[in-house]
Symmetry: C2
């Protein structure tokens, strides 16, 4: 059911609605003429004209005076959404690295800053690196913190409504960190903290292999397994933010699954525990019997949890992402085979192509969604950075 305004609509609101309609028609399109916009929205040409001029004077759009025209007739002015009117940030506070992306309102990435951090770093140190990265990202793009319209931070572990990771997190001492409050000292715009798996799922729907799907189960496969769920085109957090945490169920052996790789016989002592999985995948690719067995046992355990998610949600697509997605060539076919055996209706199984940046990319997308929500609910006055509350 289309959600209609429950409140009555008067004329100014009508104008606002139509302005938003024009903004929508402007976005994700090349610079458009008034006639094109008129056809796209169903509004009359004069109406589009005055609205477009209003958008230009408000700063939401820019006008391109006609240059060399290829068509017959008088060359038309073209209007363009001013994506540079605002910027948003998505930052992945990972175990080994912190990666910040800064983009305009169209999602074009303007600046990227990445910095390594020790997995054992205390919260204070990690937060200090985060601050450095954010400062560098904002400064490097020639902006100031006041120009940022939304910030989303990705962390591991289930994030509750208040932005805390109280249930579980592998980051040492992180349970007591109030990341949203910390970021709030630096930015006055809305701040969102979200789980990394969920954000990676969002990225796959936005720019990844699941663009065509509205029901998606995203598997973040690495030394830890996680999942992100998109249902009916919307990222679902669950009532307490703990949706997708099927790994907590012992009957589903997600916690043990990566151990098959880590404890695979034949891994040389010179290989560090963090790189063991990569070694095993390579060995399996070379035909090593023991490595192949370990991969198979890994996939068998992974598939049980995936099957639980698939049977619960009946998604269109399952995306195999995370660090192990580089070895999708070894995993995908046996995973499909296992799922076929365990599931009622077989979903499409695809390997992620976004790589390790997908988490930050998803954070960026959530920031953009946050801006859109405010835009399309609060109406559009002049383009300025929104303030929290």
């Amino acid at each position: 059911m289309t959600e209609l305004a429950t409140t009555g609509t008067d004329l100014p609101r009508l104008r606002e609605l139509n302005s938003l309609s024009i903004v929508r028609a402007l976005r994700d399109h090349p610079p458009s003429t008034v006639t094109e916009l008129s056809q796209r929205t169903g509004l009359s040409r004069p109406a589009v004209d005055v609205i477009a001029q209003g958008l230009v004077s408000d700063g939401w759009a820019t006008v391109l005076e006609p240059g060399a025209s290829s068509a017959v007739g008088r060359p038309a002015r073209r209007y363009q959404f001013r994506a540079g009117a605002g910027h948003v940030i998505g930052v992945d506070v990972g175990v080994h690295k912190i990666l910040a992306l800064l983009a305009d309102l169209d999602g074009n990435i303007v600046h990227t800053v990445r910095q390594a951090v020790s997995a054992e770093a205390e919260p204070a140190e990690r937060l200090a690196v985060l601050d450095d990265v954010l400062d560098a990202c904002v400064a490097g793009s020639g902006k100031s913190a006041a120009d940022i319209w939304a910030v989303t931070a990705a962390v591991t572990g289930a994030v509750d409504a208040s932005g805390r990771t109280s249930f579980f997190t592998p980051l040492p001492g992180w349970k007591s960190v109030d990341l949203a409050a910390h970021l709030g000292h630096r930015f006055s715009c809305p701040i969102v903290v979200e789980n990394d798996c969920k954000l990676a799922a969002l990225a796959e729907k936005w720019q990844g292999v699941a663009r065509d799907a509205d029901d998606i189960v995203y598997l973040l496969a690495g030394m830890r397994n996680g999942a992100g769920l998109i249902i009916d085109g919307v990222l679902r957090r669950g009532f307490g933010g703990a949706a997708g945490e099927i790994g907590a169920l012992k009957h589903v052996r997600w916690l043990n699954a990566p151990e098959h790789l880590q404890n695979c016989p034949g891994v040389p002592d010179t290989v560090s525990p963090d790189d063991a999985a990569a070694w095993v995948f390579n060995a399996a690719r070379d035909g090593d019997k023991a490595a192949r067995g370990a991969v198979n046992r890994y996939v068998k355990d992974l598939a049980v949890g995936a099957a639980a998610l698939v049977l619960t949600l009946d998604p269109q697509v399952v995306v195999f992402g995370g660090g192990f997605s580089r070895s999708a060539d070894l995993v995908l076919d046996p995973l499909r085979h296992e799922l076929q055996r365990l599931c009622l209706r077989m979903p499409d199984v695809r390997a992620s192509t976004l790589g390790a940046d997908s988490v930050a990319l998803g954070a960026l997308k959530l920031s953009l969604n946050e801006v859109d929500t405010r835009l399309f609910s609060a109406g559009l006055s002049a383009p300025v950075a929104p303030r929290r509350q």
Copy 2:
């Protein structure tokens, strides 16, 4: 994000929007004065006045001339949504019975017809009984088939997009039945076929114990276990209609769970297999050791599947429904205990109170939703029964 009309809005559409706004303000409220509606919608009193009169002349509302007034000032005319403008049907095509409910647009049940049918009945026989029940229901309420605006039929087994139950159904020979087509010969209005667990979940959200929740896992517990999922206030079917079918996963012992009750030692030979569970529950209530053990084993197995659903979705409420919900006094506490052990965030666990009629009630609600969707998307002309396509 609130879904706004992507197309431009002109003046007639504005009037339509406001008319819908008034209809919304009228529904689920006692007969209202123009002033009340004005406050509820934010529209001015004269605007509400003309719209309300338009609704009356269209047949969407009735006017109550002022009677004995209790307040000071001139007594106001009162407007009321004409729930009797249309009627919908929800019918449960169960294994043992067929139950049809006919209600007006407010969901007030006008007529009920129930008829038993053998569990082994062939499709032709079952469809004949269904036809009889529907005829009796329509005729008994003084209506004709043309007065019905939507029909929803509940069946067991996953229902795909075309209304078939191709994956699985316990009804003999039912896989090849096209129920929607069968009903289409009798009704020209929209027809929906849906899984019984999902509809029971909808009923619990509508009129049951989960009215306050937007994220619900409904367990249909009986000799067969099923589940229905409501996420963000909306019933979710999954891409292929097979959402909630966690019972298909062997690691989750849902298929075997009821066997603990059926095979409980001590059940007299005089008790039929269908009544064995009830006997065990009663014996457990009386303190029978073996029966208590069987119930505990049953709950332990049930809880694993429930935990898989809860961990996947992180719902606010888990509703224990279905035939066994009569014995909720024995199940609820151990179920809570097991879930506490298995889950990350403990949801609220509640027993259904709607009983065996919840499936038909949910079907009724889905019919009402179907009508609402058409109403609020297609706009409201005169109230007439919609036609398919």
